[in-house]
């Protein structure tokens, strides 16, 4: 008897907690017959991912980190009511969210415009279907028809299964806003997905990758978790490399009070390849232009993952580090390095949440993008570029979605497209653009944005990169393109990892300032 009992307990399947159930992979949905989503597929197939990854199910955030960020450690007992209350809150706070809930006419224009839908062919990844997960709940609790007619009116009770779908599909959206470009009403699914994540964190369902990183910035100062001592050592070591390469003392200053320019860049630039090649580019530009500059250990991160989880107060707290640095360094100018979502936060939010930047010189944009900064120098002769140094390269530009659709650059509309391209063309003799439907405001995300750049989502990342790979392979064939120029740390990391899976060398991905670093003429000016 006793033995029997023991055997029985052993064989009993592991009982999942409610939270664990939420974290289970969701079941994909067949795509509707009339939706193709293969307009861009053609010759490129999505490679199989060999690694043992849990498909499309990002790890849940651990209780300690949740608490650190001020979220419940576990799925709240009263999660249902708390979620609805939070939704009411957000609908009131963000008028646009309320509008997006009501105005979708199910016209279908957005269905095949999402790279994750194209790559996964999972019907739930059609932007309208993704938003529908949110809308169902909205209708049930906030509309009269929904309250009375329920399912008939497309309304659904928020239960554990639906929450599980939320967790899965709002983490298969990189918040790239491509769908909104094709929507006649401009419905922005990215905003819906941010709101969904905000609600989930609020009831105790967080995603590990993003939340760990936010906690790390609060603790140590940057996404990498590189403390000031390590940062200093890393910069010094990089200065040595620069001297070896160029024979000149090119500095990477840190915490230098009174520098003209405070440079805020993604911490990946200090650490990873190819990111660091752009760091060398920044340093050479400042050096040659003779403009004093510095990084700051208080603001050693431009990125701001607070945006990915739709959490305003974390976004603000993360951004406030820039203010600390301004107070300390007292610069006249503020320049931001190559980072897509960081530029969106800097361009669209900094002035509201941490501005106004009264102490900075109003002659310059506050803040200014490094591409703008460098292009000005190219134009006014502050630096000279020798294009022949890049003759081995045929670059093409991958517009980062957050720069393309979430920000601008320079003085003219579309500056975010023309400025980086002008810079590339100023440093290279050859250049080719990818298919018009895949660049500029219609650019495809790299597949790793929005807090999805984590190995537990590797399969999704490979699938989501497919439309971009398709467009690249075309210019590879027709023009011999062999360099994808980037201005985003996430794009750089994503491509470095994903390119080899598509049979392309990881060296093909690099920063715009990597091209500048190759081409810049150093030494005495004539």
């Amino acid at each position: 008897m006793a033995d029997n009992e023991a055997t029985v307990t052993e064989e009993e399947p592991k009982v999942l907690t409610d939270l664990e159930k939420v974290g289970e992979p969701a079941v994909p949905r067949k795509k509707p017959k009339d939706v193709h989503g293969d307009e861009l597929t053609g010759s490129i197939k999505v490679p199989k991912v060999e690694e043992n990854v849990a498909n499309h199910k990002p790890y849940l955030c651990k209780p300690v980190t949740m608490e650190k960020l001020g979220f419940p450690a576990d799925l709240r007992e009263d999660w249902h009511d708390a979620a609805i209350a939070k939704m009411a809150d957000l609908l009131k706070k963000y008028k646009s969210l309320q509008v997006y809930m009501d105005i979708c006419v199910k016209c279908g224009s957005c269905t095949d415009k999402c790279h994750y839908f194209i790559g996964t062919q999972d019907g739930n990844n059609m932007p309208v279907a993704r938003a529908e997960l949110f809308r169902k709940v909205y209708r049930r609790y906030f509309t009269t028809e929904g309250k009375i007619l329920g399912k008939l009116a497309g309304a659904e009770r928020f239960d554990l299964d639906l929450l599980g779908e939320w967790y899965s599909y709002f983490h298969q959206c990189s918040q790239c806003r491509r769908c909104s470009v094709f929507c006649p009403y401009g419905i922005d699914t990215a905003e819906i997905s941010m709101a969904a994540r905000e609600i989930m964190d609020h009831i105790g369902v967080g995603q590990k990758y993003t939340n760990d990183i936010i906690a790390k910035v609060h603790d140590v100062g940057n996404n990498l978790g590189m403390n000031p001592k390590a940062l200093k050592a890393t910069l010094e070591s990089t200065e040595e490399d620069l001297e070896e390469e160029t024979g000149q003392k090119i500095r990477l200053p840190l915490d230098e009070v009174g520098a003209e320019v405070l440079m805020v860049t993604p911490s990946a630039d200090f650490f990873a390849s190819p990111h660091v090649e752009s760091l060398l580019g920044y340093a050479k530009v400042f050096h040659q232009a003779g403009i004093s500059w510095t990084f700051s250990s208080a603001a050693s991160e431009a990125g701001n993952f607070g945006m990915f989880i739709g959490n305003y107060s974390h976004m603000q707290k993360l951004a406030s580090r820039v203010n600390d640095a301004i107070r300390e360094i007292k610069p006249r100018r503020l320049v931001v390095g190559e980072c897509g979502h960081a530029w969106r936060v800097a361009y669209s939010f900094w002035n509201t949440i941490i501005g106004p930047f009264d102490t900075l010189d109003p002659k310059y944009k506050r803040p200014q993008h490094i591409c703008e900064f460098t292009l000005d120098l190219v134009k006014n002769g502050g630096i000279k570029l020798d294009k022949s140094q890049n003759d081995h390269l045929v670059p093409t530009m991958h517009d980062s979605c957050n720069v393309a659709r979430g920000a601008r650059m320079g003085d003219k509309p579309g500056g975010q497209f023309t400025i980086p391209r002008e810079l590339i063309k100023a440093s290279c003799n050859r250049y080719v653009d990818m298919d018009q439907d895949t660049i500029m405001e219609k650019t495809f995300c790299c597949g790793g944005g929005g807090g999805l750049l984590t190995d537990d989502l590797l399969e999704l990342r490979v699938q989501g990169a497919m439309p971009r790979m398709q467009a690249f392979s075309k210019v590879q064939e027709t023009h011999g393109a062999n360099f994808i120029a980037l201005i985003c740390a996430i794009c750089k990391a994503q491509f470095t990892k994903i390119l080899p899976k598509y049979g392309v060398s990881m060296e093909v991905a690099g920063g715009v300032h990597q091209l500048i670093a190759n081409a810049i003429e150093l030494g005495a000016k004539q």
Binding site: Y59, K208, Y209, D212, I213, K216, N222, N223, L224, G225, M226, N227, K229, A230, A233, T234, S237, T238, E240, D241, P266, S267, A268, F270, F271, A272, S273, H275, V276, G303, C339, L453, T454, D455, D456, A489, I490, K492, A493
Partner: protein, 110 residues
């Protein structure tokens, strides 16, 4: 997640990286290596030991460029290059060697 070795349980994160750095011993390192399918030789230990030393001082793993440069300084150019390191650790020196060294997984926009 966790694994057992000689009757002791070691806690790891979801990707199998040791949670408590202080629990690391050479045996633990060798065990993780075995799970990774890496056969540890003298050359492998050189990398692991360097990583641990660097981490002790800086609380973070070194940038790959620094790893390469320091390996070069200590062991000469034939060991101070990326191809050599990828040979030793096919899943990438940053990820795999850190894992075996008991260091946390490097994350961020990398």
């Amino acid at each position: 997640m966790s694994f057992e070795l000689n009757g002791k349980t070691y806690e790891t994160d979801d990707d199998g990286y040791l949670v408590n750095l202080d629990e690391w011993t050479e045996d633990v390192g060798a065990h993780i290596a075995e799970m990774e399918g890496v056969e540890m030789t003298e050359a492998h230990w050189e990398v692991v030991n360097f990583l641990r030393g660097y981490y002790e001082e800086y609380n973070i793993a070194p940038a790959i460029k620094i790893l390469i440069k320091e390996m070069k300084k200590m062991f000469g150019p034939e060991k101070g290059n990326s191809a050599y390191l990828y040979d030793l650790y096919p899943a990438g020196p940053a990820l795999q060697a850190c894992k075996i060294a008991g260091l946390p997984k490097p994350t961020g926009c990398v």
